[in-house]
């Protein structure tokens, strides 16, 4: 930043609050790799198709979907929502401490995030098992076909997210993010937030409405 006290500076330069257009552009940076964001967009599109398909099917089979939703554990869905949101918070905090060049601290925050993700997985498996005990499977009816397909597809993304988080934690622990190049770390955290973003749409659609 050019000091305002320099008398030879141009009018634009002497105003520290007014940045040049190119400076404004450089401030706006997409976190992580561009490829990851395109991948996230592709994933969001696939889930959007699932969500729309679910809503249309519900309109075509209102009674079946109302009965099906009544058999789900809404409280388990809420616990999972809280688990994923809390996990996302720890991932966001991990990225913050990585910016402060404290990789070991970031690793512990990532491990905490993974613990909440494991809570999500445990609750989801318990939910599946309790439905199986009632004799409900993917073939029971259209509602449960879509329920198992969408939630299991999301669960697969949670598992992949866990692997990605483990990888970035490993890389951070061994100081692989040198020269403040956090692109890989940011890509991993962005993927995890996508998993959270999908759940906050999935949860009300399948469990609440």
């Amino acid at each position: 930043m050019i000091s305002p006290s320099i008398t030879t500076a141009s009018p634009d330069e002497v105003r520290p609050d007014k940045k040049r257009p190119d400076e404004k552009c450089s401030d706006k940076k997409l976190p992580g790799d561009l490829a990851m964001w395109f991948f996230i967009l592709a994933e969001l599109t696939v889930f959007a198709i699932f969500f729309i398909g679910f809503a249309v099917s519900e309109q075509l089979n209102k009674e079946m979907f109302t009965q099906g939703k009544a058999q789900l554990h809404q409280m388990a869905g809420l616990i999972n929502t809280i688990a994923l949101i809390t996990s996302s918070l720890f991932v966001a905090l991990a990225l913050n401490v990585m910016h402060k060049v404290k990789p070991k601290q970031a690793v512990w925050l990532i491990v905490t995030a993974q613990a909440f993700a494991l809570l999500y997985i445990t609750v989801k498996i318990w939910e599946y098992l309790s439905l199986f005990e009632q004799g409900i499977t993917i073939e029971t009816n259209t509602f449960f076909t879509l329920y198992f397909l969408i939630t299991a597809f999301h669960l697969m993304h949670v598992l992949l997210g866990l692997v990605i988080l483990a990888y970035i934690a490993y890389s951070a622990w061994y100081d692989k993010y040198q020269d403040n190049n956090l692109s890989g770390f940011e890509s991993g955290t962005s993927y995890w937030h996508m998993v959270d973003l999908l759940w906050i749409i999935l949860f009300p659609l399948i469990y609440v409405i």
């Binding site: 552009c25 401030d27 706006k28 940076k29 997409l30 976190p31 964001w37 967009l41 969001l44 959007a48 969500f51 729309i52 809503a55 249309v56 519900e58 309109q59 809404q74 809420l78 929502t81 809280i82 949101i85 809390t86 996302s88 918070l89 991932v91 966001a92 905090l93 990225l95 913050n96 910016h99 402060k100 962005s190 937030h193 996508m194 959270d196 973003l197 906050i200 749409i201 949860f203 009300p204 659609l205 609440v208 409405i209």
Partner: protein, 87 residues
């Protein structure tokens, strides 16, 4: 200072997200009309999505096109779903 703000912003967002999630569950107790209930829940989805996109994903500091792209997703998808439910 900015990093400190980022931490407090993330924690505030987390609280907002938790509160909105709990509200969404208990809404039927207070709203009898199904159409109104669906609209309220989908507005909550929109508010939660905006918090995740802007604060957790940090897209409020990203090029505008990316922020608009993700915000349009969390606006258009609930809008489309509400149209389907209210038809």
């Amino acid at each position: 200072m900015q990093k400190h703000k980022a931490v407090s912003g993330a924690i505030i967002s987390w609280i907002v997200l938790i509160v909105l999630s709990v509200i969404a569950i208990y809404l039927p107790t207070y709203i009898d009309n199904r159409s109104h209930y669906i609209i309220c829940v989908l507005i909550i989805v929109l508010l939660k999505g905006q918090q995740i996109v802007d604060v957790f994903m940090e897209l409020n500091n990203a090029p505008k096109i990316w922020r608009r792209l993700f915000l349009s997703y969390i606006v258009l998808l609930p809008l489309l779903i509400s149209v389907i439910y209210l038809m």
